[in-house]
């Protein structure tokens, strides 16, 4: 039951869910939630291949760097969202049409 394919199925499902969330939502914070799901799917794939195919710890290292980059991306993205809300008074994605007010 716990083979490489089952982890890959879970990872594919997480990726597709994140993709659907990113495409279908109009809220900018919800789009960031979809990005986090996609990054988790990629990191889970790295760790699963590291155990079942390569047998060394390089996948773990790559997964840790994915978590670091996700933290930095969430910090900058949420700062941009708060700044956007200060200017536009909404977080609807269709309102984001200009780089400056």
């Amino acid at each position: 039951m716990m083979g490489l394919t089952s982890y890959l199925v879970i990872s594919l499902f997480l990726f597709i869910t994140g993709l659907v969330v990113m495409i279908s939502r109009k809220n900018i914070v919800a789009i960031l939630l979809g990005i986090e799901l996609i990054l988790n799917a990629a990191a889970l794939n790295f760790v699963a291949y590291s155990r079942y195919v390569t047998g060394n710890l390089d996948g773990h290292i790559f997964s840790l760097f994915i978590i670091v980059v996700a933290a930095a991306e969430a910090a900058v993205g949420l700062a941009i969202i708060i700044r956007f809300f200060q200017i536009k008074e909404t977080i609807h994605i269709d309102e984001a049409t200009q780089l400056r007010n």
């Binding site: 879970i10 597709i16 914070v29 919800a30 079942y52 290292i61 949420l78 977080i91």
Partner: protein, 177 residues
């Protein structure tokens, strides 16, 4: 036996909470379901023998990123905060309508169909075997790898974090009058 029970619980938590993130209408509930999905992914890391990655996942994601997103949701709680509809495809202004959901499900279905054949042949493409108990604890090995082979990426990630935090503080500062 314990590993299989943990795997099943983590898999159902991950998939169920991911579906809930996709279909719920309240952005606050969506953040909470994302938290459940991330905890499930941490359990999957634990079943894969990646203990350090699992603990880092819980500390960084559950303790940091989801809390940051909840703060952002509450700070930007404008007129779109309260969803006006309870059903999935109703009139909730910032959470998507049936056209966007249809497009997303179509793209997701196409992606799923193009990847099923790859998943069927994955055991033929790679020599898959279980390196299960080779690493009883990965912490010391990951520490040595981070300061020996991957030290450049380690330092670059610290520079990236510093730049991201300073940039976030500059971007989100209060407006000058």
């Amino acid at each position: 036996m314990f590993a299989q029970v943990l795997f099943l619980m983590s898999a159902f938590l991950t998939i169920g909470c991911a579906i809930a993130v996709m279909v719920t209408k309240n952005i606050m509930h969506s953040c909470i379901f994302l938290l459940g999905s991330l905890i499930g992914v941490a359990g999957l890391y634990a079943t894969l023998g990646a203990d350090f990655v699992a603990v880092t996942q819980i500390m960084v994601y559950v303790g940091g990123i989801v809390i940051l997103m909840l703060f952002a949701v509450m700070l930007t709680g404008g007129k779109d905060f309260v969803s006006r509809a309870q059903n999935l495809l109703g009139l909730a202004p910032a959470m998507g309508n049936k056209w966007t959901y249809g497009t997303g499900l179509f793209v997701g279905a196409v992606f799923l169909l193009t990847n099923v054949s790859l998943l069927m042949n994955v055991s033929k493409a790679y020599p898959v075997k279980n390196f299960g108990n080779e690493f009883p604890s990965t912490v010391s090995a990951i520490g040595k790898l981070l300061v020996k082979e991957h030290v450049l990426a380690f330092e670059l990630s610290s520079v990236l974090l510093l730049g991201a935090l300073v940039g976030a503080a500059i971007i989100a500062r209060p407006r000058k009058q």
